[in-house]
């Protein structure tokens, strides 16, 4: 069992989840509250990572973040190194890759909040920001949990983007899914089975704890 890769994977998934929630909550709030005609376009673009095969997405990011584009050169100038083959590069890739998994449950959750509450808050003069923070987020807190869990798990299981963007560097970009893949490809099925078993056991345990601690009280699900 490669514990270094295990720790790296958890760190990547945790970092990605925190960033994704910070991005996805305001984005989902805007998608639900806005009347802009761009709303549909933005929602479609936010769902796009679902369409592209992960390796293709990883390849695009490799090219986009590489030193041959303005974006890539700008990032390299700020960070002092190119984003590809680094932990920060994987974070960028994971945030984009898992974006729909954070946005979709949040949009669904926010939409399910009674419109009467939103209208009432608006009539009393609440700004969209206020509606989001004081009304939508507390009432749809379960969808926040779902978004966080999905983002985290999706990043743990992420493979194609890491394969294309990572370069398999121990301690920096060699995640558990890459270790597993290497073990399978090297015919080391026993080690692969052990790695998978650890991954499965921990995921089931963590998910059970999360969901069990979130029993809706009084029967109504918020």
């Amino acid at each position: 069992m490669d514990w270094q890769a295990f720790a790296l994977t958890l760190r990547l998934a945790a970092t990605t989840t925190v960033i994704l929630l910070a991005v996805a909550v305001p984005l989902a709030g805007w998608l639900v509250l806005s009347r802009s005609r761009w709303r549909g376009v933005v929602e479609a673009v936010a769902a796009l990572p679902l369409v592209l095969p992960p390796t293709v997405l990883g390849f695009f990011l490799l090219v986009l973040l590489g030193p041959r584009t303005l974006v890539g050169r700008g990032i390299a100038a700020i960070l002092g190194h190119p984003l590809a083959f680094s932990f920060s590069g994987l974070v960028v890739g994971s945030v984009i890759y898992s974006l729909p998994f954070a946005v979709q449950p949040l949009v669904a959750g926010f939409t399910s909040v009674e419109t009467a509450y939103v209208d009432a808050a608006r009539l009393l003069g609440a700004s969209s920001m206020r509606v989001l923070v004081s009304l939508l987020v507390p009432l749809a807190r379960r969808s926040l949990l779902v978004a966080a869990v999905l983002s985290f798990l999706h990043t743990v299981g992420e493979f194609g983007v890491v394969l294309m963007l990572g370069g398999d560097i121990p301690g920096a970009t060699r995640t558990l899914s890459i270790v597993l893949y290497n073990q399978v490809e090297n015919f080391d099925y026993v080690a692969a089975a052990q790695t998978s078993a650890v991954l499965f056991a921990l995921s089931v345990l963590a998910l059970t704890l999360v969901y069990a601690s979130w029993r809706p009280r009084g029967g109504r699900r918020a």
Partner: protein, 277 residues
């Protein structure tokens, strides 16, 4: 395969249809007969990724010469070996090394029955390792000096655990006694094509790839290469085997003979592989 149009049951059901539909059914039926008569099962070839720029024209010539249609699937040799081990319906396996085909022979899943020694794969070509870099790279042109240069921040290689060219790359760096100092600057790609992508996208300064990739129009336009001296790494012998449960053994033999024929071997030489004959 015969779709009998005289079959009484079938023709009566066709005549029951209204006129325009009858015509349509007839056309589809005839098309079906046409496809059925011309389509023989193709020969399925599992081919190593370094053959991707080389093999398609050879298979076309093979079809012209013999009438046998062959279709190739390109992947890393290790992945193909795993698939064949698990029953993938391939007839011929063209690996980029000898290890994977040998493994299949030992497992009783493949053989090289046409050669004198049926327990070892048939060597059909040898691979050449090159150091490749973009022409617009700020570093000096590819050479052994470039490998030693501290300016080289990222060197891309294929995964040495399973890609034959990756194994050769590590062997070459070890013979040059620079593997340990370069180790922290290596980025590992899944296969030889991805190694080239790492460099071509500008993310790695240089890469150790196959000559077959370096000679493709795309890469020869954007970069230049340096042939790594052959004495620095063990020969990359590429082996072929016939998958034992094939139903097209004679066609498979014909393909292997064709690969070893003089004109095809000459063509391999032009595409970056060293002929064995």
């Amino acid at each position: 395969m015969v779709y009998s149009l005289n079959d009484p049951a079938r023709s009566s059901s066709v005549t029951r249809l209204r006129a325009p539909w009858r015509k349509l059914v007839l056309i589809i039926g005839l098309a079906g007969v046409g496809v059925a008569s011309s389509a023989q099962t193709p020969l399925h070839v599992a081919a190593a990724a370094d053959l991707e720029p080389v093999l398609p024209p050879i298979l076309e010539q093979f079809e012209k010469a013999t009438g046998i249609h062959a279709e190739a699937t390109f992947q890393a040799s290790a992945a193909l070996a795993t698939q064949i081990q698990n029953g993938a319906p391939f007839d011929v396996f063209l690996s980029a090394d000898l290890g994977y085909p040998k493994r299949l022979i030992d497992a009783g899943l493949a053989d090289a029955a046409s050669s004198a020694d049926s327990t070892s794969p048939i060597v059909y070509a040898r691979g050449t390792l090159v150091l490749w870099a973009r022409k617009d790279s700020p570093l000096s042109a590819p050479s052994l000096e470039l490998l030693r240069s501290p300016e080289l921040k990222r060197l891309a290689i294929a995964n040495p655990d399973r890609a034959p060219y990756g194994r050769a790359a590590v062997a070459a760096l070890t013979s040059l006694k620079i593997y340990d100092s370069l180790k922290a600057r290596l980025v590992t790609a899944e296969n030889i094509a991805q190694t080239a992508q790492f460099v071509d996208s500008g993310n790695a300064d240089a890469g150790l790839i196959s000559l077959t990739s370096a000679l493709t129009p795309r890469l020869s336009a954007t970069g230049s290469y340096f042939v790594i001296p052959r004495e620095l790494y063990p020969a990359i012998e590429q082996g072929a085997v016939i998958v034992s449960k094939t139903s097209q053994r004679s066609a498979a033999h014909k393909l292997l003979d064709f690969l070893l024929s003089a004109p095809v071997q000459a063509q391999l030489a032009k595409s970056g592989l060293t002929p064995v004959k």
